[in-house]
């Protein structure tokens, strides 16, 4: 009996060891290409350095929940979290993230090197672009404007530079499409999707959620109203049902050739250029976000690596992050499908000469002209409230003016800024 028991214990322990339960570093990553890329890098790192890196993959929203839970309970479950950049103020201001300054000093560095794009580094400092580094950028996402150049040309627009150009072409194409083809499509789903597709338009009309020193909420302004007017006009030329669309539906509409243009994330390039998933291979053009009354600005959506304050192996975690964001590794990461955050990779001729990286110059331009989502620790709550009002405006259950007014009141209530 005792022998059986001991055997079971030994068996269970060896199974745990075999499944990497005792890893040197545990990294929480999202599902999808970003997480897959870091998983592959972790396997390379383990082979090279002998450090066991365990990757825990979870759907997008669960990454935030799991990291917040680990931070709130100081569980030390994760050493590194691959975070979406709007989460950084929440994690940093609630003492969930480690300040990286002493680690850079120990490595004999002032901070990240100058090859990183300045906008990519700015999101990793808290407060934005001023405070200490609390993470390192890993995946260089920023929205781009995708459009079918041939269709736009047919509609009398060579290359859309402004939202008026987009509207002109989209209106003509939707009218001609007879309810089966549309000039524009967007993410109208309540919450994060509709906010993500509205913000670039909002910014391109000179509007913003807060004033410079964040002492006033500035949603319900003439600039905000101008942006809303364009957004509603774009809704009118979009397919029925955009009220529930997310990035997948928008991407699929373009890949299937049922819509001519949209804002989306750069990881959709791979889908558009893949003949097994797209009818539009080689037909989609990419540009920075069109201008409104002010130059267009993309929403930045970088994936960044931060060390949890309760991490068990902080130095090893930092060493891994430094290695994974080095120019050599970033090039490998780009080849695995994740946009880089380094100038040298964006301009590397061995990459840019390939068809699948032809969007890199535009993407680098988009990142450099990007704006972060309003940096506030209560951003998830703000985004939810703003997303509800925008969703109501898109669905037509309240007027655009009411939506702006109610958004203003909701954000004032959440932030306490009156």
């Amino acid at each position: 009996m005792v022998r059986k028991f001991l055997f079971s214990v030994v068996f269970a322990l060896s199974s745990l060891m075999a499944t990497n339960a005792w890893a040197d570093i545990t990294v929480l990553v999202p599902s999808g290409s970003e997480g897959d890329g870091l998983r592959a890098a972790a396997a390379d790192y383990a082979k090279l350095k002998g450090t066991k890196v365990e990757i825990v993959q979870a759907p997008y929203s669960n990454v935030f929940e799991q990291a917040a839970n680990a931070g709130q309970t100081k569980s030390g479950t994760f050493d590194i979290v691959l975070m979406d950049d709007p989460w950084i103020p929440f994690f940093a201001e609630n003492a969930h993230l480690e300040d990286l300054t002493p680690y850079f000093k120990k490595a004999g560095l002032e901070g990240p090197d100058s090859d990183f794009l300045s906008k990519s580094l700015a999101v990793c400092r808290n407060p934005y672009n001023k405070g200490p580094y609390v993470c390192l950028p890993y995946v260089g996402n920023a929205q781009m404007f995708f459009y079918d150049a041939a269709k736009f040309k047919e509609a009398g627009v060579e290359a859309p530079k402004t939202w008026d150009d987009v509207l002109k072409a989209a209106k003509a194409l939707s009218e001609k499409g007879g309810g089966r083809y549309f000039g524009y499509v967007f993410r109208g789903g309540q919450g994060n999707p509709v906010v993500a597709d509205f913000m670039p338009i909002f910014w391109s009309y000179g509007a913003d959620m807060f004033n410079g020193d964040r002492t006033k909420v500035t949603i319900d302004t003439p600039a905000g109203a101008a942006a809303m007017k364009t957004f509603m006009a774009l809704r009118d030329v979009s397919p029925k049902g955009v009220e529930s669309y997310n990035a997948n539906e928008v991407g699929q509409a373009l890949a299937a050739g049922t819509a001519a243009s949209s804002i989306n994330w750069p990881n959709w390039v791979a889908t558009f250029e893949d003949p097994s998933q797209s009818k539009m291979v080689g037909k989609i053009s990419y540009s920075p976000i069109p201008a409104g009354t002010k130059p267009g600005s993309s929403e930045i959506g970088h994936w960044t690596m931060g060390i949890m304050a309760a991490a068990k192996n902080k130095q090893e975690a930092f060493d891994f992050m430094l290695w994974a964001t080095s120019p050599e590794q970033m090039k490998i990461s780009a080849q695995r499908g994740n946009p880089p955050v380094r100038k040298s990779i964006f301009t590397d001729p061995s990459l840019t000469s390939q068809e699948k990286f032809r969007h890199y110059p535009v993407l680098m331009q988009a990142i450099e002209a990007s704006t972060p989502r309003p940096r506030h620790p209560k951003w998830p709550e703000i985004e939810n409230a703003f997303g509800i009002e925008l969703s109501k405006a898109v669905a037509g259950t309240e007027t655009p003016e009411e939506a702006l007014k109610r958004s203003q009141a909701a954000v004032e209530e959440i932030t306490g800024i009156k």
């Binding site: 609630n94 919450g191 699929q252 309240e398």
Partner: protein, 301 residues
């Protein structure tokens, strides 16, 4: 001497063991109950009466009834409550009527077609996530099968789950599709247990089929109906997975249920105290309703 002490100890242990056998047998179950139910419940009450910061270095602050008072003024909570009630009334109502109708049909007229019963029960066996994804694909406005049918019939295309007027209806239809078989199964079991004699007597007295249904079948089925409705109502009040996948609570908040809102508050807004207060409200409302319903239907008798 040693042997006798050992024997004495053995005997007293045996007596103690026999005396406490019932308690010992219950202990594992009690331990599980304590860990999984009682401790979380107490923790939830404590959390609802405090203010928990996402910052682990800040202490919990006593909030008294603040979190509960917030329920009175929180517009999103009111929307969630209204949507949950709307969904419960229409979804459970439709499931009951359809389940009863199908059970009567199959019990009376097509009793021999057993494979039909199996097919009708299939949706109930699917995980709710799979059901939600299936209906999401069916409702998809551009590529979905429903709009393809509408288009071929020359009918106007609809946005279904993306349309404010149809979103709640779309969620209800998906739920009815999945849970009608549950009602059907319970009603069928109830019908199978009905005695034949009263029906024979009623037939001799010339009672019509409708009269027999109204005066015999329904009163006989009352306990089964009550249990079925109670189980489904309690389940419908907790609706989460279907709306989470199908609509995310939109468009324009039209399908946001209380469970979805609790999830958002707890995990997206990192406010476990307020989420605990809403959860307690749902718990006590469900308990109060169930107690009233059981009394009203005289199920205890």
């Amino acid at each position: 001497m040693t042997v006798s002490i050992g024997a004495k100890f053995g005997n007293s242990f045996e007596r103690w063991f026999e005396r406490h056998l019932r308690v010992l047998m219950l202990a594992p179950a009690m331990l599980v109950l304590l860990t999984l139910t009682i401790f979380p419940s107490i923790y939830m009450i404590v959390a609802a009466a405090t203010r928990i910061s996402p910052n682990p270095d800040l202490p919990w602050q006593f909030a008294g009834a603040d979190n509960f008072l917030r329920l009175l003024t929180d517009e999103q909570f009111h929307v969630g409550l209204w949507n949950t009630l709307l969904f419960t009334v229409f979804a459970v109502g439709a499931e009951f009527l359809l389940g009863l109708g199908l059970a009567l049909l199959l019990d009376r007229y097509i009793r021999r077609l057993n494979f039909l019963k199996t097919i009708l029960m299939l949706p109930m066996m699917l995980p709710p996530v799979a059901v939600a994804i299936t209906w999401k694909l069916i409702y998809e406005p551009q590529f979905g099968v429903l709009n393809e049918i509408m288009f071929r019939l020359g009918l106007p295309l609809q946005a279904w789950a993306g349309d404010v007027r149809l979103a709640m209806f779309s969620v209800i239809v998906a739920d009815v599709w999945q849970w009608t078989p549950f009602m059907f199964l319970l009603m069928l079991a109830g019908l199978a247990s009905l005695p034949d004699e009263p029906y024979e007597a009623a037939a001799i007295d010339g009672a019509s089929a409708w009269r027999q249904f109204w005066d015999l079948t329904l009163p006989f089925l009352k306990p089964v109906i009550a249990i079925a409705l109670l189980l489904r109502i309690m389940d419908a009040l907790r609706l989460f997975d279907l709306v989470f996948i199908l609509t995310g609570g939109g468009p324009a908040d039209r399908t946001k249920t209380l469970s979805l809102y609790i999830y958002q508050v707890a995990y997206r807004f990192a406010d476990p105290s307020y989420a605990a207060a809403i959860s307690l409200f749902v718990l006590f409302t469900t308990v109060a309703f169930s107690t009233w319903f059981i009394k009203r239907m005289r199920l205890a008798d």
